[in-house]
């Protein structure tokens, strides 16, 4: 048997814990109130276009993305705008959000909410891009980069491959997995739309080998289409990082500081492809997403279809409630997700999972001295020296941190994961990056 493809440099194998992998997607009932942050995407925050007291319908535009990199935000329930004010969001900071008191679920008339799968593509390339922009679709893998921007290939560059990211390399998370197994037909239409929007011929879908059902099913569905190939990949973290994924699939290396388009690729998550399908074929804005709710001690780990703005608490209640010994709740994957300060924080477009950790696993071990074992260097998928970057950041030697490529760090956390001394290497690097970034910016002026 031929060895499965993967990326070469670095990488780790954390325990998978995909305990919710066989739980079908359930629809979470409409919450009483939703808090919809207006800055859910990478880039500029959007401008609120509704007022307090106003009645809104599900799918109605409530904040408009006006900058080049920004995205529209829509009401995820119908009802009355209770306030437009700052709320604590998943980042742990207070951010501007629209609070809607839900009164049923009345959708905008032009949205097709039927279950019927609409395969025929009538929209032109420009119409596809416009629709994606209008309906507020952003990258659902976690980075939440506005999707319409990705489809506009910069002048002088050509896109050769559309790469669909079904890797889901984070332990615990299964939302993309369920989407691939349950919504394969829709997904494929979404991929066709992205293909047309981008103007490329070839599509590769990368899926790690721990999801054989998804690989088998999507390969079957893809066989009805031209030039869509499912590529099984060896399980290795962080293969879902786009640079690692491109390397694994095509052997191409995105140059430092550049985007995938530099090597002729555009990468989109499977969740994004599904959202594109809904936006273009069903006229439906991004008002809900699939979220994995999981944890070793959770009673009923599950995959839920959740309206944007739903409090995390609602999801945990659905999964059987917060276990006694809970120490930490994480928004996102265990490797890159953020610890939540409050369970009232709303689900946003970028939330792929909610993970509950017991007390014993919530706190870090006391950090010990660095013994220069080089495990972090071995694990780093970018070929950096995390132990050294952490030292440089600790000593605030920003120019040397820059020379040692601190800005190449993708913050995957493999270094801290492997460190036998329990050193929070990524914390230090995260402190260093904005400082180095500022230094580079100042130099440019």
């Amino acid at each position: 048997m031929k060895a499965l493809k993967t990326f070469k440099l670095g990488g780790i194998h954390p325990q998978e814990y995909k305990i919710s992998a066989d739980k079908p997607i359930e629809v979470l009932p409409i919450p009483k109130t939703v808090n919809i942050p207006v800055a859910q995407n990478l880039g500029a925050p959007s401008k609120v276009v509704v007022k307090k007291g106003e009645q809104v319908k599900t799918g109605q535009l409530i904040a408009k993305g006006e900058a080049f990199i920004s995205a529209n935000v829509h009401a995820s329930v119908s009802g009355k705008v209770k306030k437009v004010d700052e709320v604590l969001d998943t980042s742990g900071y207070k951010r501007l959000a629209v609070t809607i008191q839900s009164e049923g679920d009345e959708w905008e008339e032009d949205i097709d909410t039927s279950e019927e799968i609409k395969k025929e593509i009538t929209a032109s390339q420009q119409e596809i891009i416009d629709k994606i922009q209008e309906k507020g679709v952003v990258g659902l893998g976690g980075a939440t980069f506005p999707s319409h921007v990705k489809l506009k290939v910069p002048e002088g560059k050509t896109a050769e491959y559309l790469i669909i990211n079904g890797v889901e390399c984070e332990p615990f998370l299964t939302s993309d997995h369920r989407l691939m197994v349950e919504k394969g037909e829709e997904l494929m239409v979404g991929i066709e739309l992205l293909k047309k929007g981008l103007g490329v011929e070839k599509v590769l879908i990368g899926i790690e080998n721990n999801k054989p059902d998804a690989i088998k099913y999507l390969s079957e569905v893809a066989s009805q289409y031209e030039n869509i190939e499912v590529q099984p990949l060896k399980v290795k973290y962080p293969q879902g990082g786009e640079k690692q994924l491109i390397k694994a699939l095509l052997g191409r290396e995105v140059p430092s500081g550049k985007l995938p388009i530099e090597v002729g690729c555009v990468v989109n998550n499977v969740g994004t492809a599904y959202a594109v399908y809904e936006a273009v074929q069903k006229n439906k804005p991004l008002v809900d997403r699939v979220v994995t709710v999981t944890g070793k001690n959770l009673e009923k780990p599950c995959n839920l279809q959740v309206r944007i703005g739903t409090p995390v608490q609602d999801l945990i209640d659905k999964a059987g409630g917060l276990p006694e010994d809970t120490g930490k709740v994480v928004n996102g994957g265990p490797m890159m997700g953020k610890a939540l300060t409050s369970l009232e924080a709303p689900i946003v477009k970028g939330t792929s999972g909610v993970i509950v950790f017991p007390k014993g696993e919530a706190t870090r071990v006391t950090q010990k001295t660095c013994i220069r074992c080089g495990k972090c260097v071995e694990a780093c998928p970018m070929g950096l020296e995390p132990f050294y970057l952490a030292q440089l950041a600790e000593k605030e030697l920003w120019d040397r941190a820059e020379e040692n490529l601190i800005m190449d760090c993708i913050e995957c956390g493999s270094c801290h994961y492997t460190c036998p001394s329990g050193r929070p290497l990524l914390d230090y690097i995260r402190v260093g990056k904005p400082n180095v970034g500022q230094m580079i910016k100042n130099r440019g002026n």
Binding site: P14, K258, T326, K328, M335, K368, E385, P420, G422, L426
Partner: protein, 336 residues
């Protein structure tokens, strides 16, 4: 509900720690320890106990009274230094020399630089070389395996019989008498099992390789330094041998005698004092291999492993600066 814990990602961690890694190294050294007990009897046990206990004691005293910092004697590193130090001396070493060696290894080799993780040189080798230079007679008097067993006890060795139960190492013979002299020493099978004069831990290549493979298999060490070190010393010895087999010993002889295998797997691979990147580790290994053979063949000491590794330890910061890991998304030609 209590307050939730807030910390940066990642939220999961590999089940590893410094003591875990260190104790795996200790496990790897057990076969060679057993061989030394078998070959040298109680004398060997005596030296091991003195070395290990001294290392623990000095580390504790220095941390407690000089540095006045946290006590970290349980991290396993003092145990490794103690065992390695014992591995590197003959079983007839007087007890107080062993204590002095441990003091130099822990005090000068490690704690003077700030403790574990800060030492540029392998502490056990610092202690060993200090002893070799300070006590040249006692450090080069090699009890014969098995036959010397009964003359050793916890109290040490009876001086009267010392001369009759000690003999030279194969490398010593090579140094003195040249290749012709080697025919008097044992065959390769005996050499690999440990039937030769030498330091307590270095005599059995087989026992050392078993432990080394365990370390590689458990991924405590990577293959780069051992392969580069073995390969380069073998290659250089082979070149010399091909050039003149009557003057130079054959490369297999160099591999199985002296402290080469011990150095390759247990001392050159020391995390703290060896390079970080794969490239750097290969250069380190090649350098150590070449220096070892050069010292053995052309130097005034019959054995060169300790010096070779210490010299490469000194070069490690330079290697680390010059040879960075392979970077993602950068042209390979870019120099650091």
């Amino acid at each position: 509900m209590d307050k939730l814990v807030i910390s940066g990602s990642p939220h999961v961690h590999q089940n590893t720690s410094i003591p875990k890694l260190m104790y795996m190294v200790v496990i790897a050294m057990i076969p060679a320890m057993l061989v030394s007990f078998y070959m040298f009897g109680l004398g060997a046990l005596r030296v091991f106990l003195i070395a290990v206990l001294s290392c623990y004691l000095f580390e504790y005293l220095i941390q407690r009274y000089l540095i006045k910092g946290p006590i970290t004697i349980n991290d396993g590193s003092a145990l490794i230094t103690g065992i390695l130090l014992a591995f590197n001396v003959p079983s007839s070493i007087p007890w107080w020399m062993m204590v002095v060696g441990a003091l130099v290894a822990i005090g000068m080799g490690k704690m003077s630089f700030g403790g574990l993780g800060k030492n540029p040189f392998n502490p056990a080798l610092v202690g060993r070389v200090f002893m070799l230079i300070s006590f040249p007679v006692e450090m080069t008097r090699w009890p014969k395996p098995i036959v010397s067993r009964e003359y050793f006890s916890f109290a040490g060795v009876d001086d009267k019989v010392l001369d009759t139960v000690t003999g030279p190492t194969p490398l010593g013979v090579l140094q003195e008498k040249g290749v012709e002299g080697l025919s008097q020493t044992s065959n390769y099978a005996d050499l690999m099992l440990g039937q030769m004069g030498g330091s307590m831990g270095e005599i059995s290549a087989i026992a050392l390789v078993i432990g080394g493979l365990y370390l590689l298999f458990r991924r405590v060490i990577s293959w780069h330094i051992p392969v580069a070190y073995l390969g380069s010393s073998f290659a250089l010895a082979a070149i010399l041998w091909f050039a003149n087999p009557t003057q130079y010993a054959d490369p297999f002889f160099h591999l199985v005698t002296g402290g080469l295998i011990l150095g390759v797997f247990y001392m050159a691979t020391d995390y703290v004092s060896s390079p970080i990147s794969a490239k750097g580790q290969i250069i380190f290994g090649v350098g150590a291999g070449v220096l070892t053979i050069l010292i053995r063949v052309f130097g005034s000491y019959p054995e060169g492993v300790s010096f070779a590794i210490l010299l490469m330890n000194a070069a490690t910061p330079l290697i680390n600066n010059r040879f960075k890991p392979k970077r993602f998304g950068h042209k390979p030609a870019k120099a650091a």
